[in-house]
Amino acid sequence: MNATLRRLSTIVMVMFLALMVSTTWIQFVSAESLNSDGRNVRTIYSALARDRGPIVVGGEPIVTSVPVDDNYKYLRTYSEGDAGAASVYAPVTGYFAINGTVTGMERYANSYLAGEDDSLWLDRLQNLITGEEAQGSSVELTIDPKVQKAAWDALGDRNGAAVALDPKTGAILAMVSKPSYDPNTLAVHDSAEVTATSEALINDKPQIGTIGGEERFSVYGPTINRTINATFPPGSTFKLLTSAAAIEYDGMTPDTTIPAPNLYRLPGTSTDVQNYGGETCSSTGEMTLKDALAISCNTAFLGLANTVGKDGMQQMFEDFGFTESLDIPMSTSIGAYPGLIGGENDDDSDARIALSGMGQGSVRMTPLQVAMISAAVANDGELMEPYLIDNVRDSDLELVSQTKPSRYKSPFSSSTADALTEMMLSVVTDGSGTGAQIPGVEVAGKTGTAEDDPRSPTLWFTSFAPADDPQVAVAVVLENEGQSTDESTGGALASPIAAQIMQAAIAK
């Protein structure tokens, strides 16, 4: 029996070896993917019990970890607990809740804030040797507090969003979303309270007018960052993209004459589209591209999109990178364009393409994407990658990383950019966007009023300034704040907001 006992002992060895391998597999080989699984709350909890780094804006920490005397050790505090100030930055900072929900910068910069990023390996090694607890790094944002404040104040009580970029670098200077919320209410160390508050917030969707005696509500609650995670029909601001495609691909110039009829029949249908209120764009039935953009003539751009064609329009949409998600570091929503959405209901017939020429049909974009159109025009056709983290410093304030601006896409040539600038200038000087004028500064912009049935129209303005040396590109959206589809409403309501934001950015 001794021989069989020895063999059995070998079998036992093999069994134990299998256990060691399987244990190693879980704890070492697949540990990283298991740790990053969204259902695993451990990483978040351990991050909570740690001295998380601050989030800094303009040299001042706006989010800090305050030591408290409970099991969590630290309370995440936003704008020193000031509900008003915290709401201004809420779409950027996000919040850190003990039930495991983490959003915004708190989530996407977690590895820095928690002091766990690979770039902090030297600090981690030091901590391992000295036995000190890991301290988080501070994350400094590109947000300019003056611009942020101006955007917040300018939007007032309206539902909507505003985003401002430095077109030369892609740095995001302001990111405001309304309605907002106070992250402090979600950071409390009482699980039941957090759950109740967050449920209330999710369901607290703002009313966006009354249509047919029925109250209508936004699909987005206050915790959604409307600049990057909400999409709206871009309306006439999209005419910039249609123009860009016509100039870039079809060799047109601002002075090219295009048809501008009173009625435009959508190709392959018997549906006629007219301008707002049946207005006439041109007595001759045709006008220059520049004039068509300045007064935002719908029929002209329906025809123009049809001329450019499906391939060209799609190409331009994709060349802007609008079908891809960005990590700014928050993950942004992608835009929608006929034929690029996918799925059975994605209608890319000629009629839909024509409609897309004025940003209607199934076109949807985020405010950041609309701002990126202006930014690309402002930066000679070079679209810089938008980003929010300027630099990261470890707990000893030593620089860990500094973001270097990088080119994201080149949707069109610099001559196209010049042509578009010329057209956008005329929008503000004597077109639909006169409300965006700033004394002594040349502003280039475009209004937008998008039908968003069954809701009231959504109003837009996107612009950049100064035209000769662009320092800021903005997009403002007023979610279903329009009373009619009259193009001037977008200009009247949204353009002054953009002007105030640009003014704050230029004055810095």
């Binding site: 029996m1 001794n2 021989a3 069989t4 006992l5 020895r6 059995l8 002992s9 036992v12 060895m13 069994m15 134990f16 299998a18 256990l19 060691m20 399987s22 244990t23 190693t24 597999w25 879980i26 704890q27 070492f28 697949s30 540990a31 990283e32 298991l34 740790n35 699984d37 259902r39 695993n40 709350v41 451990r42 990483t43 909890y45 351990s46």
Partner: protein, 496 residues
Amino acid sequence: MTALRPEENAPARIAEAVLLVIALALGMGGMWMVGYSLEDGLPEGFWTYTIVLAALAFTAHIVLRLRAPYADQVILPAVVLLNSVSMAMILRQDLVDIRGANASRHLMWTALGIIVACVVIFVIRDHRSLRRLTYTAMIVGIVLVVLPLIPGLGQEVNGAKIWIYIGGFSLQPAEFAKIAFAVFFAGYLVANRDTLALAGKKFMGLQLPRLRDLGPILIVWAVSLAVLIGEKDLGTSLLFFGLFVGMLYLATDRVGWIVIGLVMFAAGAVVAWSIFSHVQGRVDVWLDPLNAELYDRDFGGSYQIVQGMFAMAYGGMFGAGWGEGYPQYVPFAFSDFIYAALGEELGLTGLLAILLIYLVIVQRGLRHAIGVRDGFGKLLAGGLAFVMALQLFVVVGGITRIIPLTGLTLPFMAQGGSSLLANWIVIALMLRISDAARRPSSLPTRGALADPAPAMVGGGAIEVGGGSPVQAETDAGAGRGATPDDATQIVRGVDR
């Protein structure tokens, strides 16, 4: 021989005492760190736990010195180490009020386990006396297995019906049944192994046993299948069947038996899988635990195993440290999933160390099975060591997804009275046999000139037949023993 005086020239068991101190120190260190991590001070009851554990361990040490002085000196400290580390882990979970974790109860059962182990060592002076209980053990084993199926007594917990409830106490009879079965198999096989090994036709290179010899194996197969179907527990069923097949192989050296056994078990398992949704669920969870639908399933889903995997992954190489993990998210982190909780706080390093300690215990057990002289002792020691290895494989393999998850518990570590008590009895028997194996014998050892002629060895040789006994090349060492068991070994040697 006076009952309470150590035998003359017996080892003083210094090594064991030193190792015990180290083992207890590790457990104490664990509890100390748990306290400082969670409460910035010694945990409540620290000294009680420490003193009781130390007193129990050294009581066992003294009992061994008195009653089994030649017994293995590593096994006891190894088990004490596992037990006191688990004490720290359960205390840690008790401190944060995890429902069900109860450190004082764990201490109580540990104490009872060690005391019963001492009693076993004290009362059973010679393991061969257990051979008389062969068929009693069989009946006890079957009764124990059937108990949870009796309505009113058994209760279904998490889909498996392996518990019985008596007067507020819950017991897992299977834990005790495995000891009874080991005794029964050892006794049965030592008497019948030659019939099982020699008779039968050859088929495709495998020597198949005769049909009538299949009787007992069919009974065991039926019992373990009954466990699988009636109690819905793959682990216990695998444990019994594996134990029997393993011991059958030990006794007969016939690979044919293993093949038949595995085929029969596989057939039973497939049938159970195709009939019971419960078993199908377990298999689904085993194959794809991270599947969102399985994870969110209220009952029979993969939540527990996934949380266990998360816990282990969080532990990583070196662990989060005592008290720094999140056992509150792993259901039953103090019993069925204590392996995952340990992995979270002690890391891969800690778990590999724990596995190695188990391996040492099992391999020591097998080593003494080789060393002991009688066939019954060999089979019993081999069986007990193997059943512990098998249980570990089923438990850890279930948590780390080598096999579907089952309801067995980690010996000496999981909180649970039956498991602690039964496994301490296993250790007591292992120590008893090791004492017999290492005790200097007055009989000639292997290679020494055989004194008695093989023909005079005893009745056993004649009984089993199979050619004239030749002693020289037998692996058991011819002429060494005077028991019938050894005679059967001699005959086996001829068969080679």
